[in-house]
């Protein structure tokens, strides 16, 4: 059995999972911090 498709699939799963997690966390953090900043400058 050729192992390379399994290796590629495993690396893809790990990298996509990690990248998705980083991107979602970054976007949520920027959005929340921008909202907090906007509300502070409104005062």
């Amino acid at each position: 059995m050729n192992p390379w498709p399994f290796v590629v699939a495993a690396y893809s799963a790990a990298l996509l999972g990690t990248a998705g997690l980083l991107l979602a966390s970054y976007v949520a953090m920027r959005k929340a911090e921008r909202e907090a900043e906007a509300l502070r400058s409104e005062r």
Binding site: V7, A14, M29
Partner: protein, 237 residues
């Protein structure tokens, strides 16, 4: 530890640290995975499929370390009532669940060419699947408590009780007959050759730094949301 329970002090440290952990983790992970994929030797028995180890093992460690972090945060929340402990717990849960899921998926992909099966209901794999379900339970419980403006003490207790699964995962390969290989990396010795061990440590450290960056970003998002909610409540009053 008590010094960083203050959100303002925590944020002063977290802002630069997020960037350092993120970029450091990115570069280290990329470098270690490139070595693991193209430069590290193939295994004499498993052949090329051993390269899955460089993503599978760090994911397994982080899935388990994540729950240990949840339990530590739960303990701090219950004993010292640290204001950041509940936030830290909620921030750890999602990346912990994602890395546990990655561990299960990559393990299954490693099992098919190595063992001839995608899945086996043995001690190691089943206890890891139980860990994933525990993460789902924690996330649901913590969210439900947050919606009811609770302190998150139930979720903290759940995290402490769930920690009983960690030694089960660790010792499952010695307690029961398993398709999964036994422990190959100990505190003082390893049965893995150094040409494979260094890229493995590199990728484990890289993924750990990325995990840390995700936790800090999620904590910063939670703190910012709390600030907005508090201000809106004050404005409405």
């Amino acid at each position: 530890m008590h010094a960083f329970a203050n959100p303002a002090r925590f944020l002063r440290l977290a802002r630069p640290l997020t960037r350092w952990l993120g970029w450091g983790g990115f570069l280290l992970t990329l470098g270690a995975l490139a070595v693991g994929l193209f430069a590290a030797p193939r295994d004499y028995l498993q052949g090329e499929s051993v390269r899955i180890m460089y993503v599978h093992v760090p994911a397994a460690w982080l899935g388990m370390a994540g729950w240990a972090g949840l339990a530590a945060a739960g303990l701090m929340q219950i004993v010292w009532r640290h204001p950041l402990a509940g936030i830290a717990g909620r921030a750890i849960a999602v990346p912990g669940a994602v890395f546990t899921a990655v561990c299960l998926v990559t393990g299954s992909l490693w099992g098919r060419p190595t063992w001839g099966t995608w899945w086996q209901w043995d001690g190691r794999m089943t206890s890891m699947l139980v860990l994933l379900f525990l993460y789902f339970g924690y996330i649901a419980l913590a969210d439900a408590e947050r919606e009811r403006d609770g302190e998150g003490r139930l979720a903290a207790i759940f995290a402490l009780v769930g920690a009983v699964n960690l030694p089960v995962i660790h010792f499952s390969v010695t307690w029961w007959n398993s398709l999964h290989q036994g422990q190959s990396i100990g505190l003082t010795a390893s049965s893995i050759d150094s040409s494979m061990l260094w890229p493995l440590f590199g990728s484990a450290l890289g993924f750990t730094l990325l995990f840390g960056a995700v936790v800090l970003m999620r904590m910063r998002a939670s703190l910012a949301r709390q600030k907005v909610e508090a201000r809106l409540k004050r404005m409405a009053a």
